[in-house]
Point group: D2
Chain length 275, copies 4
């Protein structure tokens, strides 16, 4: 994640701790405790970090290692009157370059984390549910070279991470990505005086506002509304000019539309943001 | 549209008329008649073409030239109890390279047609409504270098075209793109024996199935379902393998989510389709 | 329909033709013509009536008599990846008191018309699609003793009627009601100077505003918004008082949620409307 | 709640503790503790009851007494680009017969509880969110003379109650009902060996299955699906016969469509359930 552009990133411009490098922490699976599949303020933290620290997190796959053979099945979905689709499990080879989907198809390795969040103010919820605190957003953009900005709603700025994917399509349509146990290294900083209502993401080429809701229209409206307000508040655009301009150059990424809430990112290329 | 890849396109492989080049027709505004803003089987065609013919269509802007100054306003949306947003009109400079959005922002010229359709079987509807026959899909991918495949539902294979955009963001969030009068040249062919339920699109790098419905989830489900069935029927994939694979490499394009029905394209890179 | 309350109805108070009784017209199936399953302004009327006239309409069942045995199947729905539900047809006995659903269950005869509409301004659409002009709303309240108010969008005030039901549950959940051929008698009047955006319904005990849209939230929002505006415009309520009051005493009827657009009625008891 | 029909109720037929009357417990506000606005398994119970016990619960109003004058405002909704509606507060007189809405309108007193739930298995969530464990369903049917059946997901069968309403319209359209502090008396029993996926409700005249989801269609589908399965499992109906029959006689109640999830009840008159 040591690309050059990070010195020009929002966190570099606004952050107070970015310049100093902190400790490296190891967060092993053994440390992660009983309620690691919930996101909330009630349980005790498993690790305490300081500004600028880097954390090396061991993450389970999404099924917590419970799916070991192609005969093991994930949890069923909301029942309908229709027969459910067949539940299939496939184990595939993943390495640092390739996802060998089948003898016919090899997909590129595009690692990212599905779940990243701070803690909601009073809820302690299944990490599968994304919302304004982050959560299981399943955005393929949230991989190496990206910075995610999350609101802080509880004392201590609790942080949750998990659900690494070796690659994922838009919408994660069958309900799972290429889930795998991984070791993820993140660096953590706090930007004081910057209040976010919803998560945001930055990469070298674009910025993105993220909304999670149902129906999918509501997620898209939240994401675009946040992006409009962001352009107004920090990039000097008139609100209605930003709104009309995004109708010409906004880009939408569908995270997943299989979770309890669906996630949409609305982004704009940084090249249109120059003063 | 004379790129080399067209010889390797689906229409080239399946089409019967593509090889022979037909006449060039001029379809002027004056010829387009009274009900040109409806799509249906009842009115008489304004032009009759043969397989392989090319048509040069003059299209109005989306407001049929009625918006001439920045004081003219488009039609209001479905009323809510909230005050509506301010209705603003902006006239901007467009040329073959640039869309000069403002003194600060110049966007790239990315021309495409918002509306392309055959005729529904019995309806004669406002061209603003997309459905399984096509219609106002507002997909920025539907520009030069693309091939759109539409189902034929009425004798004569009626075709409708309009709503050219100089550029458009995903979702067309404020309700309009950069609308302009244009002259569009399309070549028309018929593929016999290929029955489509929903529109499809092909570009050099990918194929895409297109769904239009509300809520937005339904449009996305239709698009992905069509793509799964397409991979099964014509590319030799097992249905459930295709479904799971798209969960890893499918790409979603949001057309618009401001129309009477919303449009979503679900695509896959051709590179994963090699036998 | 000659209940006493009709003299106190909205149409009696506002209508100009209600007091005089006009001719009785017979509209047989034979007269109904080629495009009787579309609603629109293009085809010629099959009957011309004057204010205050009464019309006796023969209606087909919803399948136009095509389903004659329990082996005949209705049209399939939008395909999904799931296996569709089994398509079953049941012929049952209906008389003027009972719907004999099975040897075990006899339901009450509650006749109403599923489809009632004027013509949209420019569309000529499948009568299955409800919208602001009316259409296939499938509201069980639209039976004997009710008055439906529809907007006039085309010269001549074209009127369409069909899809009689012997009874129907809220939502028409399996896609059909107890469909039967019937003879429906309606009386028609015009209220000049009353502009409606969406259909409205009146019965002795309540008034109802009707919205049709997808998703179902949008239909509900439209219906409640219309009812708020109605209470403000004609019953002397402050807009926000009406809005808050409906949150305490509004009643919702789900018409169908199986059509291309879903229909919701939002009503209020007349007893709360006294000055 | 001592109506005669309770002896014929589902709980009487299936329950094991109903016949014996237990203790009466007082649950005062002072006992209710820190996280009383969350529903979940982590905090310690504030009262432990035995089968057949009766509990007298003091409930706050929905705003926990924080709204004391008409100048106090409730929390704002999800932001949109539109100006929000004006936030108005009205204090009104409620007694055991009437809700005096205004000098013009007096509504009937129809008390019910908005929130009733057991605990989700692993979440500890804002009580405003209804789901398969119950929660803030806002169904006006959930008042005196009703029995609510809830699934037990955690050891001890934790129970949460709150949000009493003096009356409420379908959909609770402005976001609040007539909220008031009240004392609610409920009797609690456990039915062993009866596994529910979603809440159910029984009154003298009907049974109802309850679904909570977004979009509103999903809530309606869940409720009807549960009712179909209930008729199959316990009333001897064939699944598809039940499904088709509900299309003729099912009744829908919209709880609220302003919560994080919307609630719909699908019911059937007991008169159609006789063997």
């Amino acid at each position: 994640m040591e690309s050059d552009w990070l010195d020009q990133s929002i966190v570099a411009k606004r952050g107070i701790g970015w310049s100093k490098k902190g400790r490296l922490h190891d967060l092993t699976e053994a440390m992660q405790g009983k309620y690691h599949n919930t996101i909330g303020p009630y349980s005790d933290p498993v690790l305490t970090v300081s500004l600028g620290d880097t954390i090396k997190v061991e993450t389970h796959d999404a099924f917590e290692g419970a799916i070991r053979t192609e005969q093991d099945k994930p949890t069923p979905l909301t029942a309908t009157l229709n027969e459910p689709l067949p539940e299939l499990t496939r184990k595939i080879h993943v390495d640092e370059k390739h996802v060998r989907w089948s003898t016919r198809v090899t997909l590129p390795y595009n690692p990212h984390i599905g779940t990243l969040s701070t803690s909601p103010e009073i809820d302690s919820i299944n990490s599968l549910t994304p919302d304004s605190h982050g959560g299981n957003m399943d955005l393929p953009d949230m991989g190496p070279g990206s910075i995610t900005y999350l609101p802080v709603r509880t004392a201590g700025g609790r942080l949750f991470i998990g659900d690494a994917h070796a690659c994922q399509g838009d919408g994660e349509v069958c309900g799972t990505a290429v889930e795998y146990p991984s070791t993820t290294i993140i660096r953590v900083d706090v930007i004081k005086g910057w209040t976010l209502e919803w998560p945001r993401l930055e990469r070298e080429a674009f910025i993105m506002a993220i909304g999670s809701a149902r129906p999918l229209e509501d997620a898209t409206r939240i994401a675009y509304r946040e992006l409009v307000m962001w352009l107004e508040a920090e990039y000097g655009f008139d609100r209605w000019d930003a709104y009309m301009m995004l109708s010409q150059c906004g880009r939408v990424r569908l995270g997943n539309f299989v979770d309890p809430k669906y996630t949409v990112g609305a982004g704009i290329a940084k090249s249109w943001l120059a003063p």
